[in-house]
Amino acid sequence: MDDWKNASTDPQKRWRQGNLPSYTLLVRPLLPVNSMMRPFLVLLAVLLPLAPGLAAGEAALRLLTWPGYADADLVRQFEQRHGVRVEVTLVGNDDVLRSKLARNNGEDYDLIAANTAEIEHYVQQKLLQPLQPARIKNTARQLWRFRDYPKIPGITHDGKVYAIPYTYSEMGLIYDRSQFREPPQSITSLWDPKLQGRVLAFNGSSHNFSLASQARGRDPFRIAADDFPQLGEQLIALRRNVLTFYSLPEEAASLFEEHRIALLWANYGRQQLKQLRDAGADVGYVIPREGALAWLDCWAISRGARDLALAEAWIDFSLEEPMSRALLERQGLSNTLQEPESLDLPGRMIWLRPVEDAERRARLWERILSGERPPLVEAP
């Protein structure tokens, strides 16, 4: 169940939690293009360092990152500007990233991209080195909340900053405008009996427990052991109120259309919003007042980085217009420079953090999803 623990703290995999705890979750299904291209990209990443034309001696920047974060055309721009070579190694999940980074104590890579929870882990493992945001001048262009480092969990340690936020996605609420006079304010609307059978929630153990905890006004990532039965029942109540729990965004979209759904908890964030709007639905998007769970991917410099200045230059480059726009347009992700559009209410992001007991959440969720009736009695 180690995989599961990783998965639950991994924002990249937020949508895969719940019904299948025993699988290693590999992918970001939200990017089908990437998933199709991944074998190619991985191959490219493997072959690129072997290319004979790029002889040794030339300075090289070694990136360990995700599909979509270092597209070839943008990498070429950077290479031309700095007269260096960039070796991109792509990973599909956090476990691979962990093993690759840890292999030579971070000697193999200069720069990695990981979410805040993972950064926290790497800082603890002493695989990263602190960086000075002041040396990366484009950080000045970022929104304030992405520069308020102490408030972002996991990326500071002992007063030192270890990562620069790069991209994020939050999980807000999508609602059918024709069925709401006022936009829903709170995630408790998911439990609203008036909407019974017209609510769609996500099939994911970690997020759903976080959601239930949030609804009760508690810390979503630190559920007290005694609170589990209560939250279990809360989730059974959710189960009785929803039409169903979806897994894939396409699935959600067709359910939304077929069953006249009023409220949808958007695990895939704005991508789902766009999908529904493209399908012609008159939908709004809100960040509930309790705050929206969100993952935040950051750049961090590994402890074994060869060329600190070059690594900082890449971070700087990634915060420029072309890369930020590519995130938005190619990946449907939000960048850290502009506030996203199409938000009915401004709201707070709750950056994902490692949860207290992912296995327990998963175990319970499986039972809840299978349809068990309360009370949920946990075997000792």
Partner: protein, 572 residues
């Protein structure tokens, strides 16, 4: 290097023949190959459609079971059963029925009656645990209202059947069904008011269902099944199936790009190809609607076989065609060789004949019997040859006549002075070599002038002719009798073994001259004076010999004519 017409012509014919064979072979191969491929694809498509119908048939069977169970449940008015014992009895009956059905159908993993009330609470549930059906008692029953097979089925009018999307069953407590690819076949049970008040759900293990279907297929057929998005549900490599359940979607259209068309449009079936690393596959895909009336709910069923298998037949055909083409080409080369030989052998014969004629004026055999242009050429040539020969003969005749004229005396036909001196020169040369003596004999007629004047020139001419005959008749063939002019004759006697013979000749001539000649009724007496010179006695050159003979003749004249002088100059 120079090539003859035979070679060039042969090459041309051979190239043409080989080209014709090759092209014919190629086109027949490619068209038959296309036909074979079409046929194989059609077979594959038919097989897929049959498989689809079988699948449909199997599922229809399950649907009928579901409908029968729904009918029974409705008959027992279970959802609204008045009292607990009655309801319990009905539930037990139904559970027994479920168990019986599951024993018959190993692919049934679970049969349930689910109430619309109580958030879709299960009312009767029989699971499969290995071979055995197991009835789940009340505490284990679960709420299933949030599953699509419940909320979608409850929206259907009674009598209709819903087929769910195929998923991996993760519902806890389903015994053998956990983790299996599952199809939910469900139908509503009508309550007293005619509205659905419950539903019957049969879970089918997709793998078992397909194992049954697959057993009817040839081993090299590979079965594919995908949902409406192309997610692989059945694949020869089982690890690739249900990727969406593991967070990594794997699509049929990634392997067979043509399938996209089936997913996106209303196309019912198509042939697709995949170009794998090792083998290319040809596959037929059909679209099977799962819920009538809903265009969005369908699965894609496919059968694939390695392309090489399909092409085996056509490559066999190709081999045979290659053999035929090679044989025909060899034949073409052979025919070309023979034809070019036949053509040029006549030409060669004509050429040879021309050369031979030019060289030796001889007629070589020509292909005149041929009826074609070459025969014509030969005939023309023969004609030309004949004409040339004729002309040449005439030319040589007239040349001979001219030459004769130039070397002979026209009156007597005897060699003239020029010829005599030529022969004398030759004879001298020969005599010197052989050391055999020769004689020159001068003959001068006596009183010929008077005779000419008295009897006339014509008689004179006759006399000369007669004298010529006389001289010829008295000498050997090999001796030369010539007329030097006027009434002077000369005789060259060669190879004189015995000089005494000259005297004999002289004597003989003298005697003959004593006889009168009868010419036109005139008796004419012609006599001659003769002188002789001998080689080597009287000299060893022409001049001295002739002079001596002349002198000797004059000696005879001076001696009273009609005599001869044989003696040498020195002896007198």
């Amino acid at each position: 290097m120079k090539f003859g017409i035979a070679f060039k012509l042969g090459c041309l014919l051979a190239v043409f023949g080989v080209l014709a064979c090759g092209l014919t072979g190629y086109y027949s191969y490619s068209s038959s190959r296309a036909t074979l491929l079409k046929a194989a694809e059609r077979d594959l498509l038919t097989a897929t459609q049959v498989l689809g119908r079988n699948l449909r048939g199997n599922i229809d069977g399950v649907s009928r079971d579901a409908l029968v169970l729904a009918g029974i449940a409705q008959g027992k008015a279970m959802p609204l059963a008045p009292s607990a014992p009655v309801r319990e009895q009905a539930e037990n009956d139904l559970a027994e029925l479920f168990e019986t059905l599951m024993r018959v159908h190993p692919e049934y993993m679970q049969i349930r009656l689910i109430s619309a009330a109580g958030h879709g609470l299960e009312q009767v549930r029989v699971d499969r645990d290995g071979e055995q059906p197991v009835r789940i008692p009340y505490p284990g029953l679960q709420e299933k209202g949030h599953f699509d097979y419940v909320f979608d089925t409850l929206r259907l009018p009674p009598g209709q059947v819903r087929l769910s999307p195929i998923v991996i069953n993760h519902e806890l407590g389903t015994h053998s069904g956990v983790g299996r690819p599952t199809l939910h076949v469900s139908t509503p049970v009508a309550g007293a008011d005619g509205q659905p008040s419950a539903l019957i759900v049969i879970n089918i293990d997709l793998n078992q269902l397909f194992d049954q279907l697959r057993s009817d297929l040839p081993a090299h057929y590979q079965v594919y099944l995908s949902n409406r998005w192309g997610d692989l549900l059945i694949h020869p490599d089982q690890r690739r199936t249900f990727g969406f359940d593991q967070g990594r979607r794997r699509f049929l259209q990634d392997e067979f790009p043509d399938v996209q068309q089936l997913l996106d449009t209303q196309t019912e079936s198509l042939i697709g190809r995949s170009d794998g690393k090792d083998t290319s596959l040809v596959a037929a895909f059909v679209r099977l609607a799962t819920n009538a009336g809903n265009r969005e709910s369908f699965v894609v069923l496919g059968l694939a076989q390695p392309e090489e298998y399909v092409l085996k037949e056509s490559s066999r055909l190709g081999e045979r065609i290659i053999q035929v083409v090679i044989f025909a080409s060899l034949l073409a080369v052979l025919i070309a060789t023979i034809a070019s030989r036949a053509m040029t052998s006549s030409l060669k014969r004509i050429n040879l004949a021309v050369q031979q004629f030019a060289r030796e004026r001889k007629n070589a055999p020509l292909p005149v019997q041929r009826q074609d242009e070459l025969g014509q050429l030969a005939r023309s040539f023969v004609q030309m040859q004949e004409e040339i020969v004729e002309h040449l003969e005439e030319l040589s005749r007239s040349r001979n006549a001219l030459e004769h004229l130039a070397r002979h005396d026209p009156l007597t036909g005897l060699p003239n002075r020029r010829v005599f001196f030529e022969r004398l020169e030759h004879a001298l040369a020969a005599a010197r070599r052989s050391a055999k003596p020769l004689a020159v004999l001068f003959v001068d007629l006596d009183h010929f002038k008077q005779l000419n004047d008295s009897l006339g020139h014509s008689i004179g001419d006759r006399v000369l002719q007669a004298v010529a005959n006389l001289l010829r008749s008295a000498t050997r063939e090999s001796d030369t009798v010539a007329r030097l002019g006027g009434d002077e004759f000369v005789i060259l006697i060669e190879q004189l073994d015995d000089p005494g013979r000259v005297v004999a000749v002289l004597h003989k001539l003298h005697e003959r001259f004593q006889l009168p000649m009868l010419l036109d009724g005139h008796e004419v007496k012609v006599q001659a004076s003769m002188g002789v010179s001998l080689f080597p006695r009287d000299g060893d050159d022409i001049e001295s010999l002739v002079q001596q003979a002349d002198r000797a003749m004059y000696v005879a004249k001076n001696a009273g004519r009609n005599t001869y002088s044989y003696e040498s100059n020195e002896q007198r």
